[in-house]
């Protein structure tokens, strides 16, 4: 299995700062999008802290997870590791907010995906979303932790000492696309347009660029961040299929199916 990745972030047309952050580790199948809150500069700090904390926890050799109390029964080990990394990042943001009064109100949403052994573990807090494009259908994988009216967040990282991380697992096949994004995209661009962009463009980076443009066309009222992961066949199969489709540049990575 190979993962082809495109990503982009944009301040939008109204804000003067970008408080979103994202992280890609295509070789490991690890992807994160965060949307910081709390005003400048705290929002930027929180989203970057979340990304860094998760990277520090999951990039590198597998460490034994903390106590079994952290584990949710029924989820795969890497789903639990992702959740645990997010809970730790929550704690470090929370502690930092207590320590520094100028950052007292900082927080961030998060949506993370970790693809191992063809299973995508999805974890999220807040209103950043994950979608799966599978066989001609765009399926929302997450439900926002926010009020439908007004969109006030009901959960965020860094706002309380403990956070409830919502988890999902979904099997991915070649041809599927996984899309992670901040609400700067989904508030302005309807799901149907996301689906259309995948069908029409196919290349992860072009899909990202197009959708960022579309959100800006619709007002660009918030920061916009998108990560698109295409689950592709192994390289030899891909080369075979390439006759039917022109390759375009982007981040490519082979994920070791053994991880």
């Amino acid at each position: 299995m190979r993962l082809r990745v495109g990503a982009g972030t944009d301040t939008g047309r109204v804000r003067s700062l970008n408080e979103d952050a994202f992280m890609l580790r295509a070789e490991q199948g690890l992807f994160v999008v965060c949307d910081g809150i709390g005003g400048s500069p705290a929002g930027e700090v929180a989203s970057q802290m979340a990304v860094d904390a998760i990277l520090a926890r999951l990039d590198g050799p597998a460490r034994r997870c903390a106590g079994a109390a952290d584990h949710e029964a029924g989820y795969m080990p890497h789903t639990n590791r992702l959740a645990e990394a997010i809970r730790r990042s929550n704690r470090s943001i929370y502690d930092e907010a207590l320590r520094d009064p100028s950052r007292a109100e900082m927080g961030t949403t998060i949506v993370g995906a970790w693809i191992r052994q063809h299973i995508a573990s999805i974890a999220h807090v807040g209103d950043s979303r994950a979608y799966l494009w599978h066989r001609g259908r765009l399926e929302p994988l997450t439900s926002d932790h926010a009020l439908e009216e007004g969109g006030a967040l009901l959960r965020a990282l860094g706002r309380e000492a403990d956070v409830d991380v919502e988890l999902q697992e979904v099997a991915v096949q070649p041809g599927d696309y996984l899309l992670l994004c901040s609400d700067g995209l989904t508030r302005l661009v309807p799901d149907a347009v996301l689906a259309e962009a995948i069908v029409e463009l196919r290349e992860p980076q072009r899909i990202c660029d197009y959708l960022i443009g579309a959100a800006n066309e619709s007002g660009g009222t918030d920061n916009i961040t998108i990560v698109v992961v295409e689950v592709a066949d192994a390289w030899w199969r891909w080369r075979w299929n390439r006759r039917r489709r022109k390759g375009r540049p982007g981040h490519h990575a082979e994920t070791d199916s053994a991880v």
Binding site: V14, R15, S16, L17, E19, D35, I37, G38, G39, S40, G43, A73, G74, Y75, M76, P77, T79, E105, G107, Q117, H118, I119, H134, R135, E139, P140, S143, D144, H145, A146, L147, E148, G150, G151, A152, L153, L154, R155, A156, R159, E160, E166, L167, Q168, E169, V170, A171, Q173, T221, D222, S257, A258
Partner: protein, 260 residues
């Protein structure tokens, strides 16, 4: 005296009297303070000019708009809508001002993203049990089914599908371990959700009821899977009444509304 009515997303936040020198900006020394990152420290001002009042943009980062047009200097008319960041200021020349107290706000505005504080959140959640079941709660799962080994070598006669994702393959995380050379690490994944089980082919060849499995397929009671020399029968849980894990009606409704 004319006034400015500050609005955000259609809600009136506050009214301000327009004096001889009215300034608009993010910093606290302004007459009209708008705490929002899209607003510059000193964003714009309103100064008298002849008989009228003139709005001047103070070289703000995001600009000042009147009736959706960018302006540098603009003589204000009754009814003009001044846009600063995402906040709207309605210019009202008719009224004698009585400055209204800002309406009690139960939301904390942090930049533009609003986070409900804990106490309010808890109170709200108490009244939103239904919404919580959908967006906040952990979904109820379908009653646990089993895979029964019909034919082939396996380390058990029956596998209970308790996890959200159960794998069949040679990987050590697999529930049903395939042994021997050239077995796929992960042949299929069986996902459990509130509606039942869905099988997805991931590697090698898998037959379901003698048909090749290619995408995803929902499992129904009695389905036969052929996976790398192993024949397995899927048995769903006993019918409701017998089963202990029957979904509650409220949860079932919430689940149905989420399926798209």
């Amino acid at each position: 005296m004319p006034k400015l009515i500050l609005q955000f997303e259609g809600r009136v936040l506050k009214e301000f009297a327009v004096g001889p020198m009215t300034t608009i900006g993010r910093l606290p020394d302004n007459t009209v303070v708008i705490e929002n990152p899209a607003v510059s420290g000193h964003h714009a001002r309103i100064v008298p000019d002849g008989d009228g009042l003139v709005l001047e943009d103070l070289e703000s980062t995001n600009g000042t708009f009147v009736n959706e047009k960018p302006v540098v200097r603009h003589t204000l008319q009754h009814g003009d809508a001044v846009l600063v960041g995402k906040h709207k200021l309605l210019f009202d020349e008719s009224a004698t001002v009585e400055v209204l107290p800002a309406p009690e706000r139960n939301l904390k505005n942090l930049g533009d993203t609003v986070y409900l504080d804990t106490k309010k959140h808890r109170a709200l959640l108490a009244t939103l049990r239904e919404a919580r079941a959908r967006s906040n709660g952990r979904p109820a799962l379908a009653p646990a089914g089993v895979l029964r080994v019909v034919e082939g070598r396996a380390d058990r006669a029956e596998y209970r599908l308790e996890a959200n994702t159960s794998l069949i393959g040679s990987a050590d995380t697999a529930l049903v371990r395939l042994r021997g050379w050239f077995k796929p690490k992960v042949a299929v994944a069986i996902a459990r959700d509130r509606d039942g089980y869905v099988v997805t082919r991931l590697g090698g060849t898998t037959l379901i009821n003698s048909e090749p499995l290619s995408g995803r397929q929902a499992l129904t009671d009695g389905d036969i899977l052929h996976v790398s020399g192993l024949t397995l029968e899927f048995r769903s849980a006993p019918s409701p009444g017998e089963g202990a894990e029957t979904a509650q009606p409220g949860k079932a409704v919430a689940a149905a509304s989420r399926i798209t």
